[in-house]
Symmetry: C2
């Protein structure tokens, strides 16, 4: 199982970034995303609608206490992976992480020091500032060695069919 934990969501400031993180988690074969901070029912419905339309199993849920949640996942033998620009390079660590259950923690501007301590791996995707959306995508891409690019989503109502030019969407494949 691969779960993503997005810390300290703020509906006004972070709406699109958290939405992008959740969509990346789903598209790149994570099983679920959990978020803390402010509860945001609009975020939850956007993600649930996308999952219902494009298929597969993916869920989003809210956790008030992210530290307790990290501890509970650690107790359940998940590896705690904290993605941070200050961490160790992914290319040096990913082979120790693959094929294990993971909780991937992605932060906001201020991550509590306890998260660094609880993490089994603090992992950086380059040591340059960029984006938690990109960091999550690259982490999952490396975790799955690119195989997630070919994932088939079951029970989809809409399916995009790749085209050299233009757009083709098959709809109502499944009722």
């Amino acid at each position: 199982m691969i779960e993503v934990l997005r810390l300290s969501h703020r509906p006004f400031r972070d709406k699109r970034i958290t939405t992008h993180c959740a969509l990346v988690a789903r598209a790149f074969n994570a099983d679920s995303i959990v978020y803390s901070g402010q509860k945001d029912s609009k975020l939850e419905s956007t993600i649930a609608k996308t999952a219902a339309n494009f298929g597969g199993k993916f869920s989003i849920s809210y956790q008030k206490d992210p530290i307790a949640y990290i501890k509970s996942r650690k107790a359940a033998n998940y590896l705690i992976i904290h993605l941070t620009v200050y961490g160790m390079p992914i290319q040096d660590k990913i082979s120790s992480i693959r094929n294990k259950d993971c909780l991937i923690v992605i932060g906001s501007e201020k991550v509590p020091p306890e998260v660094y301590e609880l993490a089994d791996f603090n992992i950086s995707i380059t040591s340059q500032p960029h984006s938690e959306v990109a960091a999550l995508a690259i982490f999952l891409h490396e975790y799955y060695q690119g195989k997630q690019l070919k994932k088939q989503f079951t029970m989809a109502r809409s399916e995009i069919i790749p085209q050299e030019k233009g757009k083709l969407v098959n709809s109502k494949l499944y009722k």
Copy 2:
């Protein structure tokens, strides 16, 4: 040369997404980003400050007419790569793209049909909806076959030193 063109920027709605796209472009070894839509001097100064602080050569600039800009780059023998969920899978096309000068076009919600026509390659990173930030990151990661993760940035004032736990930043490495 690798340039990124971000279409139809709206400072209010897209501020953080465009900032993330620009930071990913820089961190993942693109040379520059150009954006169209509304001019946004705050965006430009954020990116310029990051580049000055963390080193390397990277620039951001504004173009009023993105279609004319795409045509000019096409005339200069750049491959025009349009990242879109409707395009052909990256894994089937990337070997025809590597080692060539590219203009990578990333859209907003409505991309004019002309962009699909002008593109030498319409490329998808999965056929699932997710994020232009993630799509750009995965494209560059595949273009460089992961080597951009080890890029050294010259003339940096601040350098983050990877740590198993905690944070370490070396400052004023260069005056």
